[in-house]
């Protein structure tokens, strides 16, 4: 947050037309990712976190034609104003992505070695032998045992954890500045999840890559992210340093999410659940999108959309009920 951020999204609006109507998938006032930092984008299903990630790469689904407005600044350029040819050069080389399901995000008809080598050949314009050597180097970087053997396998012959290591190898092969990791460990078991998260953190230290980690798991975000942005119904409601946002949340939604997780020693008591369900993004509620479920909702909340405001040096919250005096240094502000 000190110098110019690596990625800065402003007023991003993504609307998709589906057969059920126009979906207001993302309506995000701003989000930044600094150089080399890990930023968590956390929220529930359908809150727009994946759509935000795909908009950065210009990869929105063609099955639902839609409009994308706003600005996505990345290393001095607005990505939304770049043509398809330039975006193709940026994808993979400057920004790359790993996906939730590591097995199905690889092509089942080719060996993982061919898929890894192809990325390197295409972008670096090197011969097949050099690409193969680079592929082997990447395998040892992501700590795949016995790389020669693994590269000859097809995705279905490898475990989920190994496929995700291949996915990470492909994503980092060109040393991008930004890695977008969309639920990279959601389909993995906890012990494998821990391995993959540690691998991403290690590689980030070594290569200086910034990571935008998209996740629904507050635990994963709390453990690995420097900063976190909490999304609800298409917008970021709270963002800032992880140590502040998740330890002293100010937005009622962040507070509710954290409170609803079962914690040690809480066995006898009912979980404080957030009432209601996530709203439809075809007809999002007016004003603050969280107001129908919010215990602090006032008449103003249903009329006026709250703008994000800085509360303290490393925290920002979009809520009418939270003034600039909150946060600060008062540890009891999370109430």
């Amino acid at each position: 947050m000190v110098s110019e951020p690596l990625l800065s999204i402003r007023n991003l609006r993504v609307q998709l037309s589906t057969d059920r109507g126009l979906v207001h998938a993302v309506d995000l006032s701003h989000l930044t990712v600094g150089r080399g930092e890990t930023c968590g984008l956390v929220g529930e299903t359908g809150c727009g976190k994946t759509m935000t990630g795909l908009s950065i790469l210009g990869l929105l689904p063609t099955s639902a034609p839609g409009t994308v407005e706003g600005e996505i600044w990345f290393r001095g350029r607005d990505l939304l104003k770049r043509g398809p040819a330039e975006m193709r050069r940026i994808r993979g080389r400057e920004i790359s992505m790993i996906f939730q399901d590591p097995v199905s995000s690889l092509n089942p008809a080719f060996t993982v070695g061919e898929q890894l080598a192809r990325v390197i050949r295409w972008h670096r314009r090197v011969g097949s032998r050099a690409a193969r050597q680079a592929a082997l180097d990447m395998c040892s970087l992501v700590r795949l045992p016995d790389p020669e053997q693994v590269l000859r396998r097809y995705p279905h012959q490898l475990s989920g954890g190994m496929c995700q290591r291949i996915g990470i190898a492909i994503a980092l092969a060109l040393r991008p500045h930004l890695l977008i990791a969309d639920e990279p460990t959601t389909s993995l078991d906890v012990t494998i999840q821990a391995q993959i998260l540690r691998l991403i953190a290690d590689l980030q230290d070594r290569l200086g890559t910034a990571v935008l980690l998209i996740s629904h798991d507050l635990g994963v975000v709390a453990q690995v992210c420097d900063r976190v942005a909490v999304m609800y119904a298409g917008d970021v409601v709270e963002q800032g340093a992880t140590a502040r946002v998740l330890a002293r949340p100010l937005h009622p939604y962040t507070q509710g999410l954290l409170a609803s997780l079962p914690s040690r020693g809480a066995s006898g008591r009912p979980l404080p659940a957030i009432p209601g369900t996530v709203p439809s993004l075809i007809h999002p509620p007016p004003g603050c999108r969280f107001h129908p479920r919010c215990s602090l909702a006032a008449p103003r909340c249903s009329r006026e959309r709250p703008r994000p405001r800085a509360v303290g040096p490393e925290q920002e919250v979009a809520c009418h009920a939270r003034g600039p005096h909150e946060g600060g240094d008062r540890p009891d502000a999370s109430g």
């Binding site: 391995q195 635990g219 998740l246 914690s263 979980l271």
Partner: protein
Amino acid sequence: MHGGRTKEGTGLMQAGDATFGAGGSGHRPADFAGAGPAGAAAPLAPLFLSVRGVKKHFPVRAGILGRATAWVRAVDGVSFDIGGRGTTFGLVGESGCGKTTLTRVVLRLLPPTAGRVLLEGRDIFGLAGEGLRRLRRDMQLVPQDPYGSLNPRLPVGDIVSEPLWTHAPELRGKALQRRVAELLEVVGLSSAHLRRFPHELSGGQRQRVAIARALALNPRLVILDEPTSALDVSVQAQVINLLRDLQSRFSLTYWFVSHNLPLVEYLSDTVAVMYLGRLVEVGARGDVFPSPAHPYTRALISASPSPDPTRRQEMAVLEGQVPSATAPPPGCRFHTRCPGAESRCRQESPELRELEPGHWVACHLVAARGGGGPRAAAGSGGTRADAPGGPQAVAGGGGANQKGG
């Protein structure tokens, strides 16, 4: 061995007894004696559910004759007890460890390869005809995926009445409607939902429908297979609260299968940890979670990320992956990933031993520490009043009837 199914129970009982004998009889308090495997025949207070030496091996077929060339030992000798009604038994493990297979065997949805299960004294693998129908009413399942488990062509009212049509045909007309409306109300839905179809409901509402359907026949045991893993966090809490309310209202016994450790800790009275077809640790929640004894349990707990950013953990103590269940490693099945494995672990399979009353661990290293070992400070957690019975568990499938597949 794979042919004869239910008759091998006696052999397993011996295996169980042998384990008890070897497993430090000095640690076992007197009041546990009646509830051991021998007690299944003449119990003082009948156990709610008793699982003995259950195995399920699946054939791997190859060639045009479809001969079995290998066996996947999905569940390979599991024994434990659920003592009291109205408690929650949590079964934890990673994918492929056999927890779903074990659950399906106990539900009699899969025929067992070996072993015996008693539900309130009834040998469930020996039941047929009316007895089996009766059993089906007593054990109901809430499946994992509320999107795939409800018939998309039936309205909610029919989905909930379906078990009643089969098992309570005398309930008809107004009485049936009243019962269905009552069930919907119990799970927090209303009769406005009667005519809705599953696709019109949210994930949380669908899971409520699945719960209403499971409760329709007043079951004694409700099996919850990852009941909230398809739900968002804010909705998960609502469903978990509902399950707790229903449990105390109808004194339901839950068999809760999950890989979400904080949730298991929150809901369960007793916890069993499964790895590659075997139980590695069984005990009361208050014993297992604060001070896990088995290295695998410790690794699972440490790898489960805490949402508190001020408590950053040293994660990933485990290297490598779960070995194949077709050719499980010799000796302790966990030794290939265990940070402290010794030569003995590679040769000799550890049996469950009682570390303290009601807390059982299958690990050579823990047993070698003797006595209370690392857990001396934990006190008498194993005999807590809210964990009645606890699992007086024993490892089945020792040497007695283990044959190569």
